[in-house]
Every structure is written in C-alpha cells, then in structure tokens.
C-alpha cells in the first residue's frame, strides 16, 4: 500500500532530508502515551531509517553529542554501550540521533560518526543525522543525552533522562537507577512504565 506520504518519505530518505508528518497544531512536542512522531533520517551507515518501517520492534532513541560532558560520563564508563548491547541483543532497535547543527558541538560527518562508534565500542543499530533539528524538536528533545522508548505499536512510552543522577560525575553511574532499562523491562513484561516522563539532564542540544 504505497500512498503519497510513503513516496514522499521515501524521497526524503533518499535525499537525506528529514520529514516529520505534521501533528495536531497544538502539540509542540511528542506526548508520552501517544503515537511517536514519525520520521525518516539519513544514517551514518548509508540507508535512511524510517520509524514507520520499524513497527513490531521496540525502539530506543538516544539523542547524543559526543563532546557533552554528560554524554561522556555515560560513554567513558561504558554505561551507554552496555545498555546498547543489552538492548540490541534482545532485538530492540537502538537509534542514536545527532541534532547538532553544522558547525556546532557534536555535529559530525558519517565517517566521524562511524569512527566514534568504533573507538568507543558503541553498538547502536544506527546513528542518524538530524542537522535541521526538525525531528529533535518534534520529540521535544532538549538535552544530550535525552532518551525515548517506543513500543512495537509505535507508541511513545518513555521520555526523559537515562538515569536519576543528574551529574557529570562518573562515579554516579554506579548505583544510579537507569530509567531506560526500567522502561524496557516494563514493556517486555507487559507492565506500564512506572516513571514514563522524567527530567532529562545534560547539555542543551545545539539546534540550528
């Protein structure tokens, strides 16, 4: 069933331009409990990724900026990579998204992104580029890291921080309560997510 919208999204993917289907005028950002805003973004490994194609799979979105001290806290301690490994090992799709505008901190080329994944042992399903910030803004992403969990049915069930220790101290990773792990476990066991919205902490996303 290919309609105009799908064609449009396909075209967008081809040209590497993000398209976000317009939502109701009032909603400025994604709402937990509602369908996640659809998107198609170019990826570091080549083909674009369309959220709608991932129906039937749990999806994690991770907004990142590799130079942000809060992101570094979770990569330097291997905390983020461990979670990525755990998730992708269970068939969960992990999408790392970079919304830094060209010329700002965190903006990288595809080659640099792949190099970063390699040197940091990061194992996301894909690293996606959102240089216009359209997708980031549609999700109301403000921080790096900023985490989202989307169910197999395309519903947004978690938005917020990675854990409950809003610091740059690496020691705080130990003993922190990881909200993303908790959300994934809840969804896997058919339970509602206990804390579906938390305050994301980190660096401001460097939007265009």
């Amino acid at each position: 069933m290919i309609d105009r919208r799908h064609l449009l999204i396909g075209a967008a993917a081809f040209t590497g331009v993000a398209i976000v289907a317009p939502r109701s005028a009032a909603a400025s950002s994604a709402k937990v409990g509602a369908p996640a805003p659809p998107f198609t973004l170019a990826s570091a490994s080549g083909p674009g990724v369309t959220l709608g194609d991932l129906r039937g799979k749990l999806v994690v979105l991770e907004w990142t900026n590799h130079d942000c001290p809060y992101v570094r806290k979770h990569y330097d301690t291997q905390n983020m990579q461990a979670l990525q490994k755990e998730a992708t090992g269970q068939g969960i799709v992990w999408l790392t998204i970079i919304s830094s505008a060209p010329g700002t901190q965190g903006h990288v080329t595809a080659a640099q992104a792949n190099e970063l994944s390699k040197t940091r042992n990061a194992v996301p399903t894909a690293v996606l580029f959102d240089p216009t910030g359209v997708v980031g803004k549609a999700y109301g992403a403000t921080n790096t890291p900023h985490m989202y969990v989307i169910t197999k049915d395309g519903l947004l069930v978690y938005a917020g921080a990675i854990d409950d220790k809003p610091t740059t101290r690496k020691n705080d990773v130990q003993g922190a309560q990881n909200y993303v792990r908790a959300a994934l476990a809840a969804v896997a066991s058919g339970q509602p997510v206990k804390e579906p919205v938390t305050r994301a902490y980190g660096c401001t996303i460097k939007y265009a």
Binding site: R72, G140, Y201, I205
Partner: protein, 691 residues
C-alpha cells in the same frame, strides 16, 4: 562563510582532541571564591557568607531549577564541629533561551548567599575554617563541568562582628533582593495544554504592572520556554503558561518564584515572591483528590457542627418538634426534613457566596466574617434571646407542643422547618468545628463553583442528622414518648441560648466598647418587653389590642435602632483575655531572628472554640508552666475585627478562619508546628517537649 569553515575546523579539532584528552584543559570559565559579610564569628550567632562567581563573558551558570538543561551549583561542606550551613539562598535568575530550550541561570557576576550558624559553645580566640567542594556546570553553546575547593577563614571573637568592607554591602544587597514569601495566596488550574496560576492580590494597579514571570522550583509542571500571558484584575493576577511535560505534576502544589515588575514614579520596581500554588479543579478535572478530600472534610465538619454549643439548642428544638409530630405521616416528616435541609443549604449558599464574592472583590475576610460587624452581632443576640424567651415560656407563638421554642424555629408548617434551617446556619457561623478549617481554607482559594460546592457539603453535613431522623421514622422509636419531660427539656434548652446571648453581648462589648454594650443591653430589655406584651395581649381585643401591638412593634424597632444611634466603633480592646503580647509580623520575625521559640494564638472574641482552648488549655497551670520552662513567647493575634495582616497569616497556613495555633521552634530555619484546633493540655505539652 569563513566563520563557518573555522567553526567546522574547530569542531573537528575538538572532536580529535576529545578522544584522548579531557574536555577541560583550558582556564576555568568561572572564578569562584567564598566571601564573608562579617570579619569575625560570634559564638551562637548566625552569620552570612556567599559563594561569589565571576563568569566569563558569554557563559552562564545555573539556578536551583536550571531549566530544561544544565545543573545548579552544589556545595559539599567541611565545617568545624557544631557548625551548620543552610542551603544557598538563591537570588533571582535570568532567563537564558537557547533555541527551543530555556535555561534559568546567571551571567557576569553572581553572589549566592549562605547562612552559617556557629555553635553557642564556640571558644573565642581561635580561627574558624569554612571549606567546601563546589561543583557547577558552566555553559555557553557548549557546557563544561567545573569544580573548586573554596575556603574562608574567620577569627572567632566574643564581640559583635564587624562588616567586611569589600563584601558586606554586596551580600546584604543580594539578601535584601532575595525572593520573599508571598503575602497573597495562590492557586492554579490546568488543562492538557495550559497551566493558569492565580494569585489573590487585591489592590494591584492594573496599568502599573509591566510584566510578570513565574520561575518554577521544579522541572515538570510548566514548559520553561513557553510564553507567559499576564492578566491583572481587581482580585489579583493570573498567568497563563504552557503546560510542562510531566503529566502528574499538576496534581501537586506548584512552588516557585513569581517576579512582578511594577512601574513606579521612581522607575520599574521588581518584586520576587515565593509562591506555593495549590491545585484547583478545572475542566480537565486534574485536582480531584484535593477537591474530594475538601468535600469529605466539609461534610464531616458540618456533622460535628450539630454538637457545637451554638447549634445544639436549635437542633434539639427541631428534634422535639419532630417528636411532637409523632402521629404525622412519613411523607409529612420527610417534607419537614427537606424544608429544613433546603433552609440550611440556601443559607450556606448565601454565606459562601458572600464570602467568595467579597474575597474576589479583594476583602481579606474569612469564615465568621459577619460577626466582625457589631450590627450583625446585635441582631443575632436579639434573635437568640427571643428564641430563649420562647423556650422559657414567656411567649408562645402558635400553640401546644408544635410551638416548641419561639421565633423562627417555632413557626409551624414547612416554612418553620425551612427557617429553622436558616437559623441553624446563622448561629453555626461563629463556630469552627474540627475538619472544617482545612476544607474552608481550601475553598476560599478556589474558583467560585468549587468553593460553593465545599460550602454545600458543609451545609449537607449540618442538615444530615435531622434529615436522617425524618427519613428513617423507625429511629424515632428509640426516643422516649412525648410527655411532660419535653416541656422541662425545652425550658432547660433555653439556657444554652441565654449563654450564647451573653457571649454575643460580650463580643459586642469588645467591638464597640461601653456605649454599644449599653445600647444592646437596653435593646434586650425592649425585646423582652415586646415578647411579654405579645403574649399578655394575645386574647385582647379592640383598642387595647391595637395599643399593645403598636408598643410591641415600637419596642422591636427601638431595640434595633438603639445600637445604630450609639457612636460607632469605640476603640477596640483586645479580644481574647489573652496572656500574650500583641502579634505583629515584625515582632514575630524579630523574636525568631533572636532564636526565641514563639507560640502564636490567632483568635477572636466571637470564636467559641478559641475561647474554650484559651481558658481550658492555654491558661492551665501545666501549660503556662511549660511555656515558661521552654522560654516560649506567647503572641496573640486578635481577629475579632478585621485585620489584613492576620488574614494573610491565616492564608499562609491555608486557613480562612480562627483558631490557628502555631508553635515556632528556636531555629529560624525550621517551620512552625501547626497545632490542632481542639487543643488539649497533652497536645500542647507534647509539642513543647518536641521543641
């Protein structure tokens, strides 16, 4: 173009560098020192220091709520034994929008004051070393976590500390500009998209308010980056804000700082007020828990009102009348019950509506406010006196047992039951029963429909016992059969009414002084004369009857007119024959600053509960001794006549009426203990022990 290339190049360099060196290799962006307002420390005397930050141009640090990203300064103290450091007293932040993201923070130079309390047993002569590990995040377009060890060393001296010439002025100025607790109560309502904050602040000049902005203390209820629309009305101001991402944040009170910029002759003036806005219901129905519990408490409070000394006689009279109608059909009984309930509910609607309306108009009033009017107190005394005379048998209106009591409550027929309901409400208004205060305190901060619903629940509670008796005729079986004893009981019930009259007259004497008192006592004599004449000439005819009726009418008119002719408002003495000195906010603040524990008794001469508590508990030897032993200063806030300062005090504790009992501990930092409205010696002594 060139700039873009340079930025890209820089970004690449940063990327390369960051893979093996820490992000922070350059000079810190924030120069941080610990500075003192005073040059020495006096044992036991709290003093102020400050974390001073000089922030590089283009960079910023963060407020206690950093906004959508960022992190506030944290301090980990190493203090000498016995020293206590308070949290940072946060000055007002700036709004720092970055694209769609809003940060709250500081640029340039910032002084973050901190109060330190040294132990009383500090030995003068030594040095006091205050050390802290300070860590903060500093951001421009990129963010850098920084930290530093800061220290301040001051001598411990017995004498009064002198001011530090470099810092005292600046720290004191920062402290003077710190957000202050709002003197006006606030509430909010929420829809899925909008949170509307309302502050009841009568008398604000609409055209003078230039701007208002609310900085919430916590992330969640409000979209930090959204525009805030201000509206000023005679009742206060409202601020419409975009709702934040945390769904259940609007079920709890929202705390934060409201900044109001006012245009004065001397230029713009900024007021920073700390608010705790209570949730209200809205179309989205968010605050149902608070609303439901207020309704429940109001119902319970209404039930308990039936047992209060001002209501019990009226209710008893109605129950006696019901028993006299033992042969009436269930339908007739039920109609009496319904008429009574209608009277109660209507009266509560009127009282509640008046209260809400007057408050919306900016009056600082609360429950029982009409008793602050000497005219009303006088009229109420007359009505109750006439009723009491009826019960005593001086005057009989109607005939036989159906005419139990006199005046309104004895009117036969359904009109009588209706009027009895009205009367029960009117005499109930000076009483505050347990559970009522919380419900009423909630009601007065809510929109009119919610407030009226709470008043309705209160009325329902008051009406319920009688209505149930009429609905379940079986219950009447447990009441003894009518007989002579009813007449005796009736006569006996006159005495609580006489006592209530005596109390009202005494209240009046507090409000108007000797002249008003004399006028009212004269009026009571005239009422008695009218009652006797009415009864004595009941069966008279012709000219005698006409003369008697005229004199009766004239007596009533004169009784009502007499107090009006008396010169108004003689100086008002203290209401409660209180132990304590007079309450003023300044006195309370001064005592607290000195570290003196304080007991505040908010009372009124027309509040029976207050007087009972004062006589039975507060003036008992054990409690008096307990206050003395703990060095507690007793302040009395008299609300007999209206007093806006005391109204604000009540509002600060979510109350709209007296009594209110507060026990402030020695430490200024700790909050006051709120004692229950029905005091016992044990309750007071236990709370003194916990001081």
């Amino acid at each position: 173009m060139l700039g873009g290339m340079v930025r890209t190049l820089l970004a690449v360099l940063v990327l390369l560098a960051s893979t093996w060196t820490p992000a922070r290799a350059e000079a810190p962006k924030v120069e941080t020192t610990l500075v003192g307002e005073t040059v020495s420390v006096r044992p036991g005397e709290p003093f102020w220091i400050a974390l001073h930050q000089r922030i590089a141009p283009g960079w910023h640090t963060y407020w206690r709520n950093p906004g959508d990203s960022g992190e506030a300064v944290t301090l980990t103290w190493s203090l000498p034994p016995g020293f206590v450091a308070d949290d940072i007293a946060w000055p007002l932040p700036e709004r720092l929008p970055v694209g769609p993201v809003m940060s709250f923070g500081f640029t340039g130079e910032v002084i973050l004051p901190i109060r330190i309390t040294p132990p009383a047993g500090l030995e003068p002569g030594g040095r006091v070393d205050l050390r802290a590990q300070a860590s903060w995040l500093v951001c421009a377009d990129i963010c850098i976590p920084e930290e530093a060890l800061v220290a301040l060393s001051l001598p411990a001296l017995a004498g009064a500390p002198g001011a530090d010439p470099r810092w005292a002025g600046r720290i004191a100025a920062t402290r003077a500009a710190l957000p202050r607790p709002s003197p006006w109560p606030a509430s909010f309502s929420a829809t899925p998209d909008v949170v509307t904050l309302a502050m009841v602040a009568p008398g604000l000049a609409r055209d003078r308010i230039v701007e208002a902005f609310f900085f919430p203390y916590a992330w969640g209820p409000i979209d930090h980056a959204g525009a805030q629309e201000l509206e000023v009305s005679p009742a206060g101001l409202t601020l419409r804000m975009r709702r934040g991402p945390l769904p259940d944040a609007v079920t709890r009170p929202i705390e934060g700082v409201l900044v109001v910029t006012e245009r004065l002759e001397s230029g713009p003036s900024r007021q920073a007020l700390v608010l705790r806005a209570m949730p209200t219901t809205s179309r989205a129905g968010v605050a149902w828990p608070a609303f439901a519990s207020a309704l429940g408490l109001a119902l319970l409070g209404g039930l308990v009102l039936n047992l209060m000394p001002c209501v019990l006689p009226v209710l008893s009279v109605k129950v006696l009348a019901l028993m006299a109608h033992a042969d009436a059909t269930p339908a007739v009984r039920r109609r009496h019950g319904a008429a009574y309930a209608a009277g109660v509910l209507l009266a509560f609607g009127v009282v509640g509506g008046a209260l809400v309306g007057l408050r919306a108009g900016g009056e600082q009033i609360g429950w029982g406010f009409h008793l602050q009017s000497p005219t009303f107190v006088t009229l109420l005394a007359y009505v109750l006196f006439a009723m009491a005379l009826g019960l005593s048998g001086v005057v009989v209106i109607g005939s036989g047992l159906t005419a139990l009591g006199s005046g309104l409550a004895a009117q036969t027929g359904y009109r009588g039951s209706f009027l009895a309901g009205v009367l029960a409400t009117v005499v109930a208004t000076p009483c505050t029963a347990p559970f009522m205060a919380t419900a009423l305190g909630y009601a007065v901060t809510q929109p009119a429909p919610v407030a009226l619903a709470v008043f309705g629940a209160l009325g329902l509670g008051l009406a319920l016992p009688y209505v149930l008796l009429t609905l379940v005729p079986g219950w009447m079986r447990f009441v003894p059969r009518p007989g002579r004893w009813m007449q005796r009981l009736e006569q006996l019930l006159a005495f609580p009414l006489y006592a209530t009259v005596a109390w009202l007259v005494w209240v009046l004497s507090q409000q108007t002084g000797v002249v008003g008192l004399g006028a009212c006592l004269g009026g009571l004599v005239l009422i008695a004369l009218a009652a006797w004449l009415h009864e004595a000439t009941r069966h008279a005819t012709g000219i005698g009857r006409a003369v008697a009726r005229t004199i009766t009418a004239l007596s009533v008119v004169a009784a009502i007119a007499l107090p009006q002719l008396a010169p108004a408002a003689a100086p008002r003495p203290m209401a409660a024959e209180s132990e304590g000195e007079r309450f003023t906010p300044a006195r309370l603040a001064a005592l607290r600053a000195q570290g003196v524990p304080v007991f505040v008794n908010v009372t009124a001469a027309w509040c029976i509960t207050c007087l009972v508590n004062e006589r039975v508990v507060l003036r008992s030897p054990a409690v008096t001794e307990g206050f003395a032993r703990k060095g507690v200063v007793h302040l009395t806030a008299d609300w007999t006549n209206r007093d806006p300062e005391i109204s604000r005090m009540l509002a600060a504790f979510d109350r709209s009426g007296v009594p209110l009992y507060l026990l402030y501990p020695r430490s200024e930092r700790r909050a006051a203990t709120l004692l229950p409205q029905l005091l016992t010696e044990r309750i007071v002594l236990d709370s003194l022990d916990r001081l």
